[in-house]
């Protein structure tokens, strides 16, 4: 399917925001790369990706950090710098706010959860059904067919 030009430019800007090189891109630069004014860029970016460019960049960095924490032996500080944060305090704060735990706790839990799966700490998607229902059955008295046929 042929994409329209604005869509292509927004995708290019999202790639730039995801990049974690030494020169962090400003939102103004990302807007310029998309050929839009910052105001227009933020509005259209949010409609396409569901969050502002700034929120998008933080989430992308934290996702990369989660994978590195689960699959490498690098220190939390190294991971923080690798994914593009310049302050360990800011990294830890954002991580705790969005993931719900400190980076070190995430690493411990991810590793305790089982063998690494190609560097991914997440279960296969549809396997969540089995995990969720098994957990639910342990907590709630079993009622035949309540979940499977609801």
């Amino acid at each position: 399917m042929r994409a329209n030009a604005a869509f292509t430019r927004l995708c290019r800007a999202s790639d730039l925001l995801r990049a974690t090189d030494d020169r962090p891109l400003s939102i103004r630069d990302a807007a310029a790369a998309a050929g839009m004014s910052p105001f227009h860029f933020i509005r259209r970016f949010r409609a396409m990706f569901g969050e502002t460019p700034h929120q998008f960049r933080i989430r992308a960095r934290l996702e990369r950090a989660k994978n590195l924490l689960a699959s490498s032996d690098r220190s939390v500080t190294d991971v923080c710098m690798e994914v593009g944060f310049t302050s360990l305090g800011s990294f830890s704060d954002q991580f705790a706010r969005r993931v719900g735990m400190a980076p070190s706790v995430y690493r411990r839990l991810a590793r305790a959860g089982g063998p690494e799966r190609d560097g991914c700490a997440a279960p296969g998607c549809l396997t969540l059904m089995g995990i969720a229902f098994a957990t639910f059955e342990k907590r709630e008295p079993p009622v035949a067919g309540r979940l499977r046929r609801s």
Binding site: M1, R2, A3, N4, F7, C11, R44, R46, A47, M48, F49, G50, E51, R59, E63, K66, N67, V99, G113, R117, D118, G119, C120, A121, A122, P123, G124, C125, L126, L128, M129, I131, A132, F133, T135, F136, L147, S150
Partner: protein, 127 residues
């Protein structure tokens, strides 16, 4: 064998639940914690014979596939609507971004919009 369940990957399950219920208008069926994530499904209003699982795209392989398809403007799911022009107007008023306006293609009219969770969704109206 029956088709009772299908799935779509989403970049954030909370955001996806808000969008798929609050904007698309589906109804939450299951929301059961499963470690860091949830078993989260929605159904069409008024009928729950087919569930759509909103799956976390935390697996790097899944994420790479999803991002590549998005960048190529390829929808990963399609939902039927009764009146595609009215639906497109309603969704645009709610701030939804379209990459393809309602377009007649033979016996069907299609439009494509973003679900804000990393996917393009095709809406279609058989004519």
């Amino acid at each position: 064998m029956k088709i009772k369940l299908t799935s779509i990957m989403v970049d954030d399950q909370e955001k996806a639940l808000r969008f798929y219920t609050g904007v698309f208008g589906f109804v939450k069926k299951h929301e059961i914690p499963a470690g860091e994530y949830k078993w989260l499904t929605v159904v069409s209003p008024g009928r729950d014979d087919l569930e759509l699982s909103l799956e976390p795209n935390a697996n790097p392989a899944a994420k790479a596939f999803q991002e590549a398809m998005f960048r190529q403007a390829i929808p990963l799911a399609a939902f039927e609507v009764d009146d595609i022009e009215a639906e497109a107007r309603r969704l645009k008023a709610a701030g939804v971004a379209f990459t393809t306006e309602p377009t007649r293609m033979g016996p069907v009219t299609i439009a494509v919009c973003s679900d804000t969770c990393g996917n393009l969704i095709q809406l279609y109206q058989p004519t």
